[in-house]
């Protein structure tokens, strides 16, 4: 089917009308989004990597013939920069948070003023995003590469845009260094993102002074390690993860000097080829996914219309019988839902309790550890305020890492357990089939993806403190009608994890203002330690506590919604009891007409597919 036909179907108001009428789904926003998706041919892939992994160099090499993104050993990016085929070549389109647009030359010099922390500290200028155009082949398919700010530099001004990028993201490119090989915290970072965005591409960023042997052994090691990460996150893999080796510096040099041989040697050409393929396939996949979703919608509609047609033809006895059997089925279903909810509540409470215990133990230990470390430094004569603060910050980050990794890890495990609980195959398929009418019946993989979007939203909304408000929760449930609560709870857990991620950087040290001698500095430093430890503890306690409440809230809301849906269904059927013959005939003819429309759309869709 060509996109135009498909777009036409998606935009058909009769279709949305029937979805609302029979399945109680407001499908308009989703269909509209899908139309946009088809039209824009845009797929966003963020590039993630730790500081100093050569991300900017790589992006330059991938997109341009000369350095456009500023390369600096320091933290360069505090603003999201996207590169795609839109826009004017050689021009940067700058979006400000206040809505202002600005065009600037796309040069390293001009961009430095905006994206470098030194000239735009904390994004004081309020830049929301920068769009760059590239004429490279890889972007023709609609690929948009995004250099996102690290979690540490998220500010209010770019939070919203970063969030929207992640919501859009369909995959992610992780940049991994040759040396050091993947560390535990990097592995966890990857695990978090990878679990959410299953199309992950790994790029091994190579420097000029790294020998072939080093690269080969790092590549083998990292691949093994990534395999372990995938196993832990239950990400199915066909084989060991592949790392594309690219020497960004060499690649850029090759572009500058138009040296084909060097481009080959740098690994750049290979990787560009890979991305082009990836892009081509993506386009097909979007098309296929949307078609399949629509197929699902139509099939559900057809089933529902057939069911209602059957009921409309019932006599009084048959009617009563159906009502009674529906009631029985619903009781079973509700019982099942309650049981599962109970188990999920138990899981979440257990997690809460264990985390609290862990945090308490950590707080005690970390304070002692930090006091030891800082005492040693004071004894060694580090008493100057700036340096003392910096040392303290370093040590605090290190002391905090353990507990944050730990809690994130157990949140991941919790997510696993909850998904299992709410998605075990027999019970749930029954639930979907009977009552939790899913307007969008998509394959499993697709449902994962949708769910993951929810998780991503969660993780960013959570960036501020890991807590979703009641309204936001309601909105999530509202837009995801029909989906098992696994998705929503997954989203809350995502929010929790994201919130914790925010704490990594959120708890900055106050400057320890002292020029005093060691003895006098001690109380000031120790007070700062206490403050740090208690702020991390409080944040964790709060997040985890809120989390448990939210789970509880979602499950209750879910139950209410299910009961309400059943109630209205019952009333509708009961209404049919007292219909006159004419009314019945009229209803039947409407149903027949609707069934005919649905059948014709289904035919059209088949045509389009072939």
């Amino acid at each position: 089917m060509n996109s135009e036909q498909l777009t036409g179907l998606l935009g058909n108001t009769d279709l949305t009308g029937l979805l609302q009428k029979y399945l109680d789904i407001d499908a308009k926003p989703r269909l509209k989004q899908q139309i946009e998706q088809l039209r824009a041919r845009r797929f966003v892939v963020p590039i993630a990597g730790v500081q100093g992994c050569g991300k900017s160099t790589l992006l330059n090499a991938l997109a341009f013939d000369e350095p456009v993104l500023p390369i600096d050993a320091d933290e360069t990016t505090c603003v999201p920069v996207e590169i795609g085929c839109e826009g004017v070549h050689g021009e940067a389109l700058v979006h400000y948070a206040n809505g202002r647009l600005e065009r600037r030359p796309a040069t390293e010099e001009s961009l430095r003023e905006l994206v470098h922390n030194e000239s735009n500290p904390g994004n004081r200028l309020g830049v929301a995003r920068i769009k760059l155009n590239s004429r490279r082949e890889i972007f023709r398919s609609g690929l948009v590469l995004v250099d996102l700010p690290g979690t540490g530099s998220l500010t209010a001004a770019n939070m919203a845009t970063t969030e929207s990028y992640l919501r859009e993201a369909v995959g992610v490119i992780f940049v991994v260094r040759v040396v050091p090989t993947l560390t535990a915290s990097q592995a966890q970072f990857i695990q978090l993102q990878w679990a959410a965005l299953r199309s992950a591409v790994f790029l091994l960023s190579r420097w000029n002074d790294e020998s072939d042997e080093e690269v080969a052994s790092a590549s083998a090691y990292n691949s093994q390690r990534l395999g372990q990460v995938a196993e832990r996150a239950h990400i199915p893999l066909d084989g060991p993860p592949i790392l594309h080796v690219v020497n960004g510096h060499q690649g850029l040099l090759a572009s500058l000097s138009r040296n084909e041989e060097l481009a080959d040697r740098s690994g750049l050409r290979n990787f560009l080829g890979f991305l082009t393929d990836f892009g081509g396939k993506w386009d097909e996949r979007v098309h296929m996914d949307i078609t399949r979703a629509l197929e699902g919608d139509l099939a559900s509609l057809a089933t529902e219309v057939a069911r209602r047609t059957e009921i409309a033809g019932f006599d009084r006895d048959e009617h009563l019988q159906r009502m009674a059997s529906d009631e029985r089925e619903f009781d079973l279903l509700l019982g099942e839902l309650d049981e599962r909810s109970e188990r999920v509540r138990a899981l979440s409470n257990n997690f809460k309790q264990q985390t609290r215990q862990k945090v308490r133990a950590w707080a005690d230990d970390a304070s002692k550890e930090l006091r030891n470390r800082m005492r040693t430094k004071l004894r060694a004569g580090i008493v100057d305020g700036d340096r003392l603060s910096r040392a303290l910050r370093n040590e605090q980050e290190e002391a905090g890492r353990g507990i944050l990794i730990d809690v994130q890890e157990s949140a991941l495990q919790l997510r696993e357990a909850v998904e299992q609980e709410l998605r075990s195959d027999e019970g749930l398929s029954q639930m979907e089939g009977v009552d939790l009418q899913s307007g969008v019946r998509v394959d499993r993989q697709e449902s994962l993806k949708l769910e993951n979007i929810a998780q991503n939203v969660g993780s960013l909304v959570g960036g501020g403190g890991g807590v979703l408000g009641g309204a936001e929760l309601g909105a999530m449930i509202g837009t995801m009608t029909g989906f098992p609560p696994a998705a929503v709870i997954g989203g809350i857990i995502g929010g929790l994890i994201g919130g914790i991620a925010g704490m990594w950087a959120g708890n900055q040290v106050k400057k320890v203002a002292t020029d005093a001698r060691a003895k006098a500095a001690e109380p000031v430093v120790f007070a700062a330690i206490d403050e740090y430890v208690s702020s991390i503890s409080t944040s964790l306690h709060k997040s985890v506590g809120n989390f448990a409440n939210q789970v509880d809230e979602v499950l209750s809301q879910w139950r209410e919604k299910t009961v309400a849906h059943h109630e209205s269904e019952r009333r509708r059927i009961a209404g049919g009891l007292n219909e006159t013959h004419e009314e019945k005939q009229q209803a039947l003819s409407v149903l027949a007409k609707d069934a005919a429309s649905i059948a014709s759309w289904q035919r059209e869709l088949k045509q389009v597919q072939s």
Partner: protein
């Protein structure tokens, strides 16, 4: 220390006799060791403290005479084991790292304790304690901080975690300084997995009028809590020197009764003794089970037909293949690590040098060289080097985790194949044979039999591990892993020990990293000098660490893994060479004798009823 005799002693004696008679010397020796521990409970106390804090004096107080030298200059350069025994005259030995021993006279002992010979592992004194109740107590006097970390790692990785009680000695007058902090942190991290081992903080030579709440003692306790990261028990030991009103000093004997009484009540608490006893009982039962399985296989071999024999040989070959496959896995893993780790170290150091360069170049000129040097030595280098340590550790952990998984796969496949073989012909002796093999492997994973538990504490005459530790070992290894998962805990433990050790080494290395002289030069000059000096220090550090990893740590870790594999697939169960008599009569006779052996063993086993 004296308690009612263990009800198993008589049966254990019978067992030893039976094993001796059957020529099963290894198992007889294991049973003897267990018997000696059952008969007389022992407890292990490690005394730690900076040199010249008076550790030796405290131990002399336990013995009631000056057996250990206690000069004002640092004395103990090696570990001294004081074994409180029921003997009339003290005796001295030297134990060497090649496992040989040598009896010493007192002068020679003192000489060795001050200037240890090459190859000396430990000195040992056997003597009667003042208080008879302390018989059975083994007290380890350890060297000071630097020597302990660089030359006596066994103290950290073996003695401390398997102690029943740790005594940490601080001088009241000298107070709690950086070295005490470092040392106590080392104790804390060495026992991080066994936080229930009691640590006694002994504040030595307190002046008259001192008490737990006095300013100095409170300060020491406060710092000690942070250093140890938990709260130690407190003992104040009054100074032996009394200052008379006229200024003369009278020397009294050191008052250590309270200290040793507290040590005794902690180490010999009924709970701890019960846990150790339970562990020993299990070990003895494992010896019996293995002996029986072994005899059963011998019996089966004798009665087997040629075809059945072939089946058994086949099962053995399977085991041998798993063993060699496992060794191969270990070799591959360590070959990779041997290649990757040194290169990784060098490169990380190179990256650090670039950071140092940038840091010094940017350093505020008003702060000057002294501050820059302090910053480097006091924070930046130790902090960054710790990061390097973590990166190395992460890398190794990744490789070892993958190796463990493959080893587990090999073992589980073998066990599953043995079980499948057995299931195919349930009535066959071959099936019994395969099952017996599988069961033995299972016992080995679950109980680690007696072998590994009888090591510990540097092989100090038997099971020396503390009660807390034993309980943990039981917990992690006691699960019925047979047929399910391989004993991961065992490998993980090796990894953990190694990690601690590595971290300690890194720390000590940093402490001596950069020596900075005062350069009275202008900025450009001192900056360059400081950078050069830091680079030089980093180069030295890098060489030391690389060498240590390459030549010491990795080979040690590799060897430990190979050893575990050999223990697991043990040569004893693979022994098919036992001569089987040709004549039917002789065969019948051999079979009958194994049958008889097993019957006697079963009778003994019936006498070994676990204590409530």
């Amino acid at each position: 220390m004296r308690s009612t005799p263990h009800p198993w002693l008589a049966s254990t004696d019978l067992l030893i006799g039976l094993l001796d008679e059957a020529g099963n010397t290894d198992r007889a020796a294991q049973a003897r060791l267990i018997r000696s521990r059952i008969a007389a409970p022992q407890a292990f106390v490690t005394v730690v403290g900076e040199t010249s804090t008076g550790k030796s004096t405290l131990i002399n107080g336990l013995l009631g005479c000056d057996l250990l030298p206690h000069d004002a200059r640092p004395t103990t350069g090696t570990v001294t084991q004081v074994q409180c025994s029921d003997v009339n005259t003290p005796s001295y030995d030297a134990i060497f790292s090649d496992a040989t021993q040598e009896a010493l006279d007192k002068e020679h002992f003192i000489e060795l304790s001050q200037t240890p010979e090459k190859g000396l592992l430990r000195l040992r004194v056997r003597a009667r304690p003042v208080d008879e109740r302390n018989i059975g107590l083994h007290v380890f006097d350890t060297p000071g901080y630097n020597a302990m970390l660089t030359q006596h790692e066994e103290v950290l990785i073996e003695f401390l975690p398997s102690s029943d009680v740790i005594v940490f000695v601080v001088g009241h007058r000298s107070g709690f300084g950086q070295v005490d902090q470092d040392l106590l942190e080392a104790v804390g991290s060495a026992t991080a997995e066994d936080r229930d081992i009691p640590v006694l903080l002994a504040i030595n030579r307190t002046p008259s009028g001192a008490h737990a709440g006095d300013k100095r003692s409170a300060e020491i306790l406060r710092l000690a809590i942070d250093g140890l990261r938990r709260t130690p028990l407190l003992q104040l030991i009054p100074s032996a020197n009394e200052v008379l009103p006229d200024g003369r000093i009278v020397r009294h004997p050191v008052q250590t009764e309270a200290l040793w009484q507290q040590v005794n009540s902690l180490a010999m608490s009924p709970e701890r003794i019960a846990v150790v006893r339970h562990k020993l009982e299990r070990a003895l039962l494992a010896v019996v089970a293995e002996a029986d399985a072994d005899a059963a296989r011998k019996e089966l071999q004798i009665t087997a037909t040629e075809e059945q024999m072939a089946g058994m040989r086949n099962a053995m070959a399977m085991l041998a293949k798993s063993q060699s496959d496992s060794h191969h896995e270990i070799e591959l893993t360590f070959a990779r690590l041997q290649e990757a780790i040194p290169a990784l170290t060098s490169r990380l150091v190179r990256q650090l040098k670039i950071k140092v360069d940038a840091e010094v170049q940017q350093s505020n000129r008003w702060l000057g060289h002294a501050d820059a040097a302090e910053w480097l030595c006091g924070h930046m280098l130790p902090f960054e080097v710790r990061g390097i340590g973590r990166a190395l550790e992460d890398h190794m952990a990744g490789e070892i985790e993958a190796m463990n998984r493959r080893l587990a796969e090999i073992a589980n496949t073998t066990i599953a194949e043995l079980q499948r073989d057995a299931a195919l012909r349930p009535e066959d002796p071959m099936a019994k044979f395969a099952l017996s093999l599988a069961t033995t492997l299972g016992t080995r994973i679950a109980g680690q039999a007696a072998g590994s538990l009888l090591r510990g504490m540097g092989g100090v005459g038997g099971t020396a591990a503390g009660a807390g530790n034993l309980a943990k070992m039981l917990l992690s290894r006691g699960g019925q892993l047979f047929g399910k998962t391989f004993g991961r805990a065992v490998y993980d433990q090796i990894g953990r020990v190694f990690t601690k050790q590595l971290m300690q080494r890194l720390n000590i290395a940093i402490a001596v990293l950069v020596e900075v002289a005062t350069y009275l030069h202008e900025v450009k000059v001192w900056q360059q000098k400081l950078i050069d000096s830091a680079n030089g220090g980093l180069d030295d550090w890098c060489i030391t660490v690389r060498e240590d990893l390459q030549k010491q740590q990795l080979p040690m870790l590799s060897q430990a893994n190979h050893q575990l594999i050999d223990e697991f697939y043990g040569a004893d169960i693979q022994d098919m060479t036992g001569k089987i008599a040709q004549g039917q009569d002789q065969r019948n006779e051999q079979a009958a004798s194994w049958k008889a052996f097993r019957q006697k063993l079963a009778a003994i086993r019936d006498g070994l009823v676990p204590q409530p």
